[in-house]
């Protein structure tokens, strides 16, 4: 349980957007994930949380820095190693409507990975597809249907079955429940938790719903404008947040019952997040930070461990 399955070191992903402009979607992020753990990543839109997920899976090639999976740098893998990496590392996408091929039957969608890796053939393959469908709470009869015949929650289950088909050990879930209704979200989250226990999976769970991230994650990282601001145990992060941005973010969560209305002191952030094309100098949060100092405009604070397992990038600490 204690070894790191994934380590990323100072990873950057910059996009060239023309006119000699560069968007620094992810700008120097480091963290590690232990086997069987769930790391949650939260942040507002444009913070780079999806980009980091896609870079880890290998959909994007990192501009700089290293992604190390099971002790190997993924950019240095040979063909065979890359293939194995692609099998072990799977992704579940946000939009269950756009991420399934509408012209393929559900059984074919799930079997595609099994075929690609030659994991099973003929009857054994079919049995495996049926077993996967049952595992995610669908009916084996569904294998011959098309994606449009399913509801959003069911489609997300199909996406999960597809990811599981190649027996992965690591799953990046990019906003897997944001498109679903409240009563269905809990079903999918419970399924993900059960699968994690049974298959000993490691998750990177990307979402903007803070309550759900807290529920599912062991540790949580908070991103802002391409930088990691704070990373801690999920209990610690919610009870004892250190970074001013985390504080503001948590204070913006709506109360859970009307009794608590007005009890939470809200830290209102002025303005909007700055454009990632032209981020502020120094700390990217300084333009909205209630405790910004002069020093913040000059230098990006160092990423340091201020308490055990509690990392933060802020000049206040």
């Amino acid at each position: 349980m204690s070894e790191n399955v994934l380590e990323i070191h100072d990873v950057k992903k910059h996009f060239n957007v023309g006119h000699k402009q560069v968007v620094k979607s992810v700008d120097g992020i480091s963290f590690s994930i232990k086997k069987g753990e769930t790391l949650g990543i939260v942040g507002e839109s444009g913070s780079g949380k999806s980009t980091i997920g896609r870079t880890i899976v290998g959909l994007y090639e990192a501009t700089a820095g290293k992604v190390v999976f099971e002790g190997k740098d993924i950019s240095k893998l040979n063909r065979k190693g890359k293939r194995e990496f692609n099998r072990k590392m799977q992704m579940i996408f946000q939009d269950p409507h756009a991420s399934l091929n509408p012209r393929m039957r559900v059984g074919e969608i799930i079997a595609e990975g099994i075929d690609a890796y030659g994991l099973a053939k003929g009857k054994a393959k079919q049995d495996r597809v049926f077993q996967l469908l049952e595992r995610v709470g669908l009916n084996p009869d569904h294998a011959t249907r098309f994606p449009h015949e399913f509801s959003g929650g069911q489609r997300q289950r199909i996406g999960i079955a597809r990811a599981l088909a190649v027996e992965p050990s690591f799953i990046v879930a990019d906003e897997p429940i944001s498109a679903l209704d409240v009563s269905i979200q809990a079903q999918v989250v419970n399924l993900l938790e059960d699968l994690q226990k049974e298959e000993n999976l490691t998750y990177l769970f990307i979402a903007h719903d803070l309550a759900m991230v807290k529920h599912i994650s062991d540790r949580i990282g908070v991103m802002y404008l391409g930088k990691m601001m704070e990373l801690a145990n999920s209990q610690t992060l919610f009870q004892d947040p250190l970074h001013p941005y985390t504080n503001a973010l948590l204070s913006a969560i709506p109360v859970s019952t009307p009794k608590l209305r007005g009890t939470r002191e809200r830290i209102v952030l002025g303005g909007d997040p700055p454009s990632p094309i032209n981020p502020p100098s120094g700390c990217p949060f300084r333009t909205r930070c209630p405790s910004a100092m002069e020093h913040c405009t000059i230098e990006m604070p160092e990423w340091k461990e201020v308490k055990e397992n509690h990392w933060i990038a802020c000049h206040l600490y």
Binding site: S151, V182, P254, P273
Partner: protein, 340 residues
């Protein structure tokens, strides 16, 4: 408080290739002046269609208000002509849509989009209307409104665009603001700003808000009263306190239980509502929630329950509360206990 809007037994259906969809199946509720009513429910439960009916905007020719009355002030909206409706829309009822990215015209400067409504409904000169638009921009918290007035929507961020949409809705001092998922497309910090803005405006102008949402947190934050919709029916309604603290309908129990509790120190397993909502092409004869309800009895499948009254405002449609139901106390306590 005086009643501003009353919806009585509203039924709306749509003709499609697959048959007739009964999107709203007998919905009744009312909104008082200065009050915020939240309509909560999953996608497809008919909450947006109800709002469309109030605005007289049920898409024709496929959609049709089959039955019911919508009394706004002293008029019945369902009986008004197109022209009369146009006079009400934008002047007496303002609408805030979900997606600020698509509800603004990308080829028009935002100033003209705000001014448009003012010029249509009020006898003001173009210059006076411009002045008023700039004041509105200031009211919704947009800095440097004179400069922003002549910018295009793409020059605004999502939160700013939603502020512009709110400014348009407020342009003619509407008595009722219908906000259809106003914060769903926004980040949580921006959501907090917009909710604060709505509360603030309501206090200043004493307008009523009908807030359509699926987010119980938003409801807990701003609503006075709540109507919970399921499969085209209001299954429970009451004050926000009653709904959160003594809910009566198993669907409301399920909704409240399926969201994680931020304040619990232990990691608890979520309790989802199993199954999925019924098909409204052929809605069930009995209670629409019966197939997913852990407390369902035989009668639930066969007959639609009557409305049971618990207090002045608190109603629920559930057989568990019928005086003939067996062991009703046990059932209800069982449900409520799990809530805590």
């Amino acid at each position: 408080m005086a009643q501003l809007l009353e919806v009585k037994d509203l039924k709306v259906s749509f003709r499609t290739y697959g048959g007739e969809v009964q999107a709203v199946r007998g919905v009744s509720f009312s909104i008082d002046e200065g009050e915020t009513l939240a309509i909560v429910g999953e996608s497809g439960c008919g909450k947006s269609v109800t709002a469309q009916a109030i605005m007289g905007m049920v898409p024709v020719p496929h959609g049709k208000v089959q039955n019911g009355q919508i009394i706004f002030g002293d008029r019945d909206i369902t009986k008004l002509s197109k022209k009369q409706l146009e006079q009400i829309r934008g002047s007496e009822i303002g609408m805030i849509f979900q997606d600020p990215m698509t509800s603004l015209n990308p080829t028009m400067i935002i100033g003209n989009q705000i001014r448009e409504g003012i010029l249509t409904h009020q006898k003001l000169s173009k210059n006076e209307a411009k002045k008023k638009s700039i004041e509105l921009l200031k009211l919704v918290g947009i800095s440097d409104p004179e400069k922003r007035y002549s910018q295009y929507p793409h020059e605004f961020s999502g939160g700013m665009r939603q502020r512009v949409v709110i400014a348009i809705a407020l342009a003619c001092d509407p008595k009722l603001i219908i906000a259809d998922e106003p914060t769903t497309a926004l980040d949580v910090t921006i959501q907090a700003q917009i909710l604060d803005l709505l509360k603030d405006i309501q206090q200043k102008r004493n307008s009523s808000i009908m807030l359509i949402t699926h987010d119980l947190g938003v409801v807990a934050e701003v609503a006075d009263r709540v109507a919970v919709m399921y499969a085209g029916v209001v299954v429970e309604s009451g004050t926000v306190k009653e709904i959160f603290e003594s809910p009566k309908h198993p669907y409301t129990w399920g909704l409240l239980k399926s969201v994680p509790n931020l304040d619990s120190p232990e990691k608890e397993r979520l309790i989802p509502i199993e199954g999925s909502p019924p098909d409204l092409f052929a809605p069930p004869k009995g209670c629409p929630f019966a197939s997913r309800c852990p407390f369902a009895m035989e009668v639930c499948v066969l007959h639609m329950p009557d409305t049971e009254t618990f207090s002045n405002h608190h109603y629920a449609k559930c057989w568990l509360h019928d005086h003939r139901a067996v062991k009703v106390e046990e059932f209800i306590t069982a449900g409520s206990e799990q809530l805590v």
